[in-house]
Symmetry: C2
Subunit: 408 residues, 2 copies
């Protein structure tokens, strides 16, 4: 058994495989896994790098089974049932779980990939934090031009959360750690191409999010697609807007990889899968999480943690059926709801059965869910410590130490 | 007033200047300060990056006074009393405190600067941790050659502490997170040119340190100067020894900087200072900490936190005397003792009045002192959390997540 990718889907599968006592190899480029939903907190100084990352080997040790190989899977020989890693190492499998994830999507916008800062990996979050400090220091040192333009592209959950966190950070730093900068010297803009923020949420929640962001002096521009990115500016249909920091959270797509060559794709570029999440023509292989085009009804599932975790667990259940001679069952996604937080005691939650929450209730739900889902006990304690400090003591927890920019 | 350098000396001076209500500019290359004595813990995964670093602006805000300028001081115009930063910004001063610190010393050993990994900055610690993980992963993946050689050069406190921490880490990882590697597959060697470890400590403590390290399967080679560093090996008089990771903790020296051009130096290259720590011929300027050749009797003071802190406080007291028309007094270093830890409940401490401690007592003294001296309340809580985990739960706290190698 080989599992490629140690995100939510891959790790959920490894955990269930360990429970069955089955051996499996887990292949991942980095020796750690990342809790992606909280990367925006790392980027804005509310959490430390180590709060949202965890060594894969420690996780496997706790699971009690499973072996790790650090590496990049480069190709699959479907006839030999063998994965080859960059560098030449090969792993044979009887069953293969592909959970290679996604990458930031730039929609072909000129220079967006070069100048925009995504929030997809731990390195992205570290880079964003470092740039943010550099931008603030430059403005503080420049006696002629203080104004700083922080621009977030994409009004989905990540963009909303990032803009909200930047607004909180501005209020914590302006006039305090940065006596040179007033609150009005730091402008925060959130750009969304669609007519409203959080397009996947109920319009009532979109309106709430916009109102709460605007209360925090975030300029929200909906119906504002970015046509081009330039050094220090973005071009909208309405003209150029200056940027000192450009966060690119406009969406994700399946990363181009030689590993996926020759496999059928859906219209959105995700791997085509059967209702049971197997690859068409390769019943020994499953595709899970962000890289796979699993559906609920006619729509593809959102590329979020919950569908990935459920897919990982589903795949192991079906492997068990297959090994005992039964037919695999179709995947049934159980929507436990989606949430996004705007700031302290302000969030939106869209739960099962059409239940919608806003404000403190949604925020507490968000907080509880993320604490429970965070991988690892120690991380949970550390995050709790940071957040207690952050939210109760009303000051910045982690400060804004730029992560060490060592060359690896 | 301008203070250059935000290490122990510069920050101690800023704190006392703030207490007097005097304005001062603090210049530092990074926006954070680093608690250097614990960098070896960051490198070996016992602490997180953010546990030993703190944003300078937050520190100044707590002090209630003092302004920060991120930058590198490039030159001093002694007649105009003006510091010029790289980039051209100038700062005028009435009094100048130079606390620019030191840098790793490579003793002219060929390739040591290129291939050795020092432990002097946060970036160094991050790089060392990343390399350590890479070395272990490579060994785990290689079925033909498992043996890993971790070599520490320099048997002073940093080298002893690093070797001890590596030994603890090996025992935590071998056969557990790394089932591929046995305890004997990871060799740790400590090389010291002098005839004994910890040459600045009492010989009894040197013997204890050696015994404790050897109990932890660290190979201690004294009288073993490194003659040359090569890719994958170091050359000693006794021949070549293989290295997969080479920690260079052989000592520090004053970094070559255009800022110090034209200033008199001592035989060891440190800035020559009067007994009151002023620069000869520049009574308006003090030199403090690692960059300065302050003496106790005829010997230069060790380049450690305590002399630096005391020098910073001394300088502010003398500035106060000078401003009230009094003569500055000579600096009197009050030796509060030095310590080094080898591992859990094993340390050496050499205290005032010739008192020497080893074992649990010394370890608890070390732990208490470092917790008390750590900058910032939150850091203290976080370090305590990590250490509680580390030492009481007998497992690795921070794990070994390589710090994000972002390009800044």
């Amino acid at each position: 058994m080989v599992v490629i990718g140690a995100g939510f889907a891959g790790l959920a599968a490894m955990a269930d495989l360990a429970r069955l006592g089955w051996d499996a190899w887990l292949v991942e480029r980095q020796p750690y896994t990342t809790f992606q939903p909280l990367l925006y907190q790392v980027a804005t100084g509310g959490l430390n790098l180590e709060d949202v990352a965890f060594p894969i080997r420690s996780l496997l040790r706790r699971m009690g089974r499973g072996r790790f190989v650090q590496g990049v899977a480069a190709s699959v020989d479907w006839d030999l049932r063998q994965v080859t890693l960059e560098g030449g190492q090969t792993l044979s499998y009887d069953h293969l779980l592909l959970a290679t994830g996604a990458a930031p999507k730039f929609f072909g916008v000129p220079s967006a990939a070069e100048l925009g800062l995504p929030l997809h990996t731990l390195v992205d979050a570290a880079r964003l934090r470092t740039r943010l400090v550099a931008v603030l220091e430059r403005a503080a040192a420049d006696h002629t031009q203080h104004r700083v333009h922080l621009v977030v592209v994409g009004g989905g959950p990540t963009g909303v959360e990032t803009a909200g966190a930047l607004a909180e950070l501005r209020d914590l730093l302006a006039g305090r750690d940065y006596p040179e900068l007033g609150r009005d010297d730091i402008s925060i803009e959130l750009l969304e191409a669609a007519p409203r923020l959080l397009p996947s949420f109920h319009p009532e929640l979109s309106r709430y999010a916009r109102r709460e962001l605007e209360r925090r002096s975030v300029v929200v521009l909906t119906g504002s697609a970015v046509r081009q990115v330039q050094e220090g500016a973005v071009l909208l249909d309405s003209g150029l807007r200056p940027t000192d920091l450009l966060v690119w959270s406009a969406g994700v797509e399946v990363a181009d990889s030689p590993l996926l060559r020759g496999l059928a794709r859906t219209a959105s570029g995700r791997l085509d899968v059967t209702p049971s999440l197997q690859l068409p023509g390769h019943p020994e292989a499953f595709a899970l999480g962000d890289c796979a085009g699993a559906r609920a009804g006619t729509a593809e599932l959102p590329q979020l943690a919950q569908p990935a975790i459920q897919a990982g667990r589903h795949a192991v259940r079906q492997l068990r059926r297959i090994r005992s001679g039964q037919e695999p069952l179709p995947f049934r996604y159980r929507d436990r709801g989606t949430m996004a937080t705007i700031g302290r005691r302000a969030a939106v939650a869209q739960l099962r059965g059409g239940l919608r929450l806003t404000g403190t209730a949604a925020w507490l739900a968000w907080l509880g869910l993320h604490l429970v889902e965070l991988l690892g006990v120690r991380n949970r304690a550390s995050v709790l410590l940071n957040w207690t400090w952050h939210y109760l003591a009303w000051r910045q927890a982690a400060g804004l130490i730029p992560p060490a920019p060592g060359p690896g």
